[in-house]
């Protein structure tokens, strides 16, 4: 299988601290890929590098054959990379529908003038956007919450809306940073099902950071293990669960 995302000796230093240390791995197209490691291992930093929120101190990141490590953050949605955040990053004053519509931003064309007039193409694309949003709402089973301001929802539902917003960008690569932490087991199972359905329906590649070993071992095709910024193991769930370095560095301590 071809790789959709490749990291080649990527490092990120914050002053003296090496948050990501010469990490290299490849994510096969269509895979469900997990990145695990103890707190402070550099997982979120790695996501921030892939989504161009940070520039790497060294190394190359290739998505779909293109180098992206020098890209601007707002270009990423257009390339086909979507993500959610470890700490909720929703637009809390807006409704569920409005949040999801923001995800469609880069697909819509209206400019200031056509927006102000709300006429012709601007109106038509809004209708199409609504239809798309309704599909996502159905997919995530949040029909009853459509017009609720997201700030009023429970934590689990807010996360679900954030997932929906990332889906609205129609990503080929979806980065999920600790999606299920803080969720109960039922909500966690829902998310696992959504991830599997996504891949099934759209061929979306999912890279997820998770602490919940249940979901990681259940649905991942491959797993990368970080410790102190460095990649200490990479392989299938079976390989990882039998890996001595991982057991010592991570599972042993947990």
């Amino acid at each position: 299988m071809t790789a959709i995302l490749t990291l080649d000796t990527v490092s990120k230093r914050f002053g003296g601290l090496v948050a990501v240390d010469q990490v290299s791995f490849s994510v096969p197209d269509g895979a469900i890929y997990s990145v695990i490691g103890p707190n402070g291992a550099g997982k979120t930093t790695l996501f921030n590098l892939i989504s161009a929120l940070f520039r790497p101190s060294e190394g190359a990141i290739t998505f779909d054959g293109h180098r992206i490590e020098q890209a601007r953050t707002h270009q990423l949605a257009g390339f086909g990379i979507g993500r959610t955040f470890q700490n909720l990053a929703i637009f809390s004053h807006s409704t569920v529908v409005e949040n999801l519509l923001v995800g469609l931003h880069h697909r819509l064309k209206a400019n200031l003038l056509t927006s102000a007039l709300f006429w012709g193409p601007a109106r038509r694309e809004e209708v199409a956007a609504r239809r798309k949003v309704e599909e996502i709402i159905d997919f995530l089973e949040i029909q009853h919450l459509r017009d609720t301001p997201v700030g009023l929802l429970s934590y689990g539902l807010q996360k679900r809306v954030e997932l929906g917003r990332a889906l609205a960008t129609e990503p080929r690569l979806l980065l999920l940073d600790e999606m299920v932490s803080g969720m109960n087991s039922e909500e966690t199972e829902d998310i696992a099902r959504f991830i599997l359905d996504l891949r099934e329906a759209f061929g979306t590649t999912v890279v997820m950071v998770e602490h919940d070993m249940g979901i990681v071992m259940d649905i991942s095709d491959r797993i990368a293990v970080l410790n102190h910024g460095a990649l200490i193991a990479e392989g299938t769930p079976a390989e990882i669960s039998g890996n001595q370095a991982v057991l010592e560095a991570y599972l042993g301590k947990a």
Binding site: S51, L53, R72, T73, H74, Q75, L76, A77, G78, G82, R83, F85, A89, I90, F91, S92, H93, S94, V97, E98, L101, V102, G103, L104, H105, H106, L108, A110, N111, L112, S115, A116, L117, F118, A122, R123, E126, V127, R130, R131, E134, D138, Q143, R165, T169
Partner: protein
């Protein structure tokens, strides 16, 4: 089970309001506004014109500060730029009123890039102070570039005609202001229900998430500046039409604070709120004045000497009281009332 949605449903979702009651009230209000000049006297009409202009200005400021979250204390500067552009083009360069009014918006929008570009990384208080400094620079320029701006002498314009309306007649000026206020309202509502307005709100609520959703902060902050100041500049141009004689003294910091008060009191981010807030703040001194009439003559006279200070005080008081009782402003209060009555008697 999947629910089926027909295209008509999406269209309906997109309507500004699908509530027939809202539409009837809006219709009644519009009729009221159209017949108003036939019902009230000259003074009340001049207040109505002032409200209309304030509405345009407040809607403009609201796009920048309420919707995009970029706090501006530079409203007076943008109004001044628009007002002087219109007045000078008419008086010194012989332009007709229509392009002169449009030029007010364009000039103010161009100047906003001058503030906007260097302050892209500024937020909150720092941006507020930068925009205030901009406003000082504008008034300073107007005062000292005498060869262009007439400096301390001000600008006088007369005998104006706008698309066949005689602006010397308060009634006809009122209709022009009403038309522009309506167009502005509609344009702002439209912007807010499309990708541009959603991008503004995304920038306000979570700029990192906005970027990840494909929204360029640079681009949309500048869009917000340009759109907002274009509208504010038009409001400034209309001020030239109403005042006929303009002078830099009009454009004080208090004017900027009052504009902020309008959108805070009305409800940040809401177009209807900006309208309510503008009406409220313009009417505030009028209400005070009529209350003064109830005081004993001596007290009323003593207070009326300080009417300017009292006005500032009341504006401040209105903001504090509003933030205390209803952070969502008048429009929030209205929604609460509506909810209360919709649920009545169950909500009691």
């Amino acid at each position: 089970m999947r629910t089926h949605h027909f295209v008509e449903t999406y269209e309906r979702h997109l309507a500004l309001s699908d509530n027939p009651v809202t539409w009837s009230w809006t219709g009644a209000l519009l009729v009221g506004l159209v017949v108003l000049p036939f019902l009230v006297g000259g003074y009340a009409l001049s207040i109505a014109i002032a409200i209309g202009i304030a509405v345009v200005g407040a809607i403009g400021l609201n796009l920048l500060t309420g919707v995009t979250g970029l706090i501006s204390l530079g409203q007076a500067g943008f109004l001044a730029a628009g007002c002087y552009t219109t007045a000078l083009l008419i008086d010194d360069y012989g332009w007709s009123t229509e392009p002169a009014l449009l030029a007010a918006g364009v000039m103010s929008a161009l100047l906003s890039l001058l503030v906007g570009i260097p302050s892209l990384r500024l937020k909150g208080l720092y941006l507020a102070i930068t925009t205030m400094a901009f406003s000082f620079i504008v008034t300073h320029f107007l005062l000292y570039a005498e060869s262009i701006t007439h400096g301390p002498y001000g600008v006088r314009i007369e005998d104006l005609d706008f698309l066949g309306l005689d602006l010397g007649s308060a009634r006809q000026l009122y209709y022009l202001v009403l038309a522009i206020a309506l167009i502005t309202t509609l344009a702002a509502l439209n912007i807010l229900r499309t990708r541009i307005g959603r991008a503004f709100m995304a920038v306000r609520d979570h700029d990192v998430a906005a970027r990840v959703m494909g929204i360029s902060l640079t681009r949309y902050k500048l869009f917000a500046f340009v759109t907002s100041s274009f509208i504010v500049g038009i409001a400034g141009g209309l001020m030239a039409f109403q005042f006929r004689f303009i002078n830099v003294d009009i454009f004080t910091v208090l004017l900027s604070v009052e504009a902020l008060a309008m959108i805070i009191v009305g409800g940040l981010g809401s177009v209807a709120g900006a309208i309510l807030g503008a009406a409220f703040i313009v009417l505030l001194p009028e209400i005070t004045r009529s209350l003064l009439d109830f005081l004993p003559a001596a007290a009323a006279e003593a207070l009326s000497i300080h009417i300017f200070e009292i006005r500032g005080l009341l504006t401040g008081l209105a903001i504090i009281v509003m933030l205390r009782i209803e952070p969502h402003g008048l429009i929030g209060l209205w929604r609460q009332t509506k909810r209360y009555w919709t649920g009545w008697p169950l909500s009691v």
